[in-house]
């Protein structure tokens, strides 16, 4: 992890098209890539659908939750990727179906997100081959692409703002890392939060 990421950072993605804004977007993508680099080589563990239908992918070493209430009930990966307000498509490497959050219409047969929890979609232990961020021009947000060693592919696209974000905008996606850093992406902002 670079020194720049050790400090809290917040970057605004301005929708205008000046060179400074292009640099800002490039910087934001670079910051995201810096955190995502830690995910490469980590084993996929499992998928869980959390409250609100948020898909969470767990990677790395398994551990108990910090909450005493959840201990013994759930296991967490040392890296947790939460697909919050984003649209996403998950194409398991060895399956002839595609999972989607319902906002996107992929080729193939979409099935419900909850079905992926059954564990037959992605084999536990498949390694992350690559994980990278990219700028999505139409919504001026940051997407995510993850490839696994079994051929599974995940593409995450930032949401279009509903114009009513208020005081509690919901991140498009976020990554919790083992040392407590949290990468929160969108809407319009990228932040790397230090451990509390």
């Amino acid at each position: 992890m670079s020194a720049a990421l050790a400090e809290p950072a917040a970057r605004k993605c301005d929708p205008s098209h000046s060179a400074a804004d292009a640099n800002e977007r490039e910087h934001a993508v670079g910051l995201a890539d810096g955190v995502l680099y830690g995910l490469v080589g980590e084993p996929f563990r499992h998928v869980r659908v959390s409250y609100g239908g948020e898909l969470q992918l767990h990677f790395g070493e398994l551990r108990q939750p910090k909450s005493a209430k959840l201990k013994g009930k759930l296991l967490y990966g040392s890296y947790i990727l939460g697909l919050r307000a984003s649209a996403w498509i998950l194409s398991p490497g060895s399956a002839d179906f595609t999972l989607t959050d319902g906002q996107l219409q992929p080729a193939g047969t979409p099935i419900e997100a909850g079905e992926v929890e059954s564990g037959h979609a992605i084999p536990p232990g498949a390694l992350v081959v690559s994980a990278g961020a990219f700028h999505v021009e139409p919504v001026d947000g940051i997407g995510l692409r993850v490839l696994l060693s079994d051929g599974s592919k995940l593409v995450v696209l930032p949401s279009r703002s509903d114009g009513a974000e208020g005081d509690t905008p919901v991140a498009d996606w976020e990554l919790f890392s083992p040392k407590g850093f949290v990468l929160q992406v969108g809407p319009g902002t990228l932040a790397v939060r230090k451990p509390s």
Binding site: Y51, R84, P169, V170, Q184, S196
Partner: protein, 65 residues
């Protein structure tokens, strides 16, 4: 209620109770566990109302101490 609205509602309660991002995530998992075990809220599909979420947040933080 849609996914984003549900998450926004949880984030608002988590923010009101000063939860860290990790606590907020575990709180969301706790809510889902409650739903799945039949201890869901009174809204559609077992979702929680604002009042129910505040009660759940109190309970979650108390049991997390």
């Amino acid at each position: 209620m849609g996914r984003k609205a549900d998450l926004k509602q949880v984030d608002a309660v988590a923010g009101r109770y000063g939860m860290t991002p990790e606590q907020r995530r575990e709180f969301g998992d706790d809510l889902e566990e409650c739903k799945r075990s039949g201890d869901g809220g009174s809204s559609d599909r077992g979702d929680f109302t604002d009042d129910e979420l505040r009660a759940k947040a109190n309970e979650f933080l108390e049991e997390t101490k």
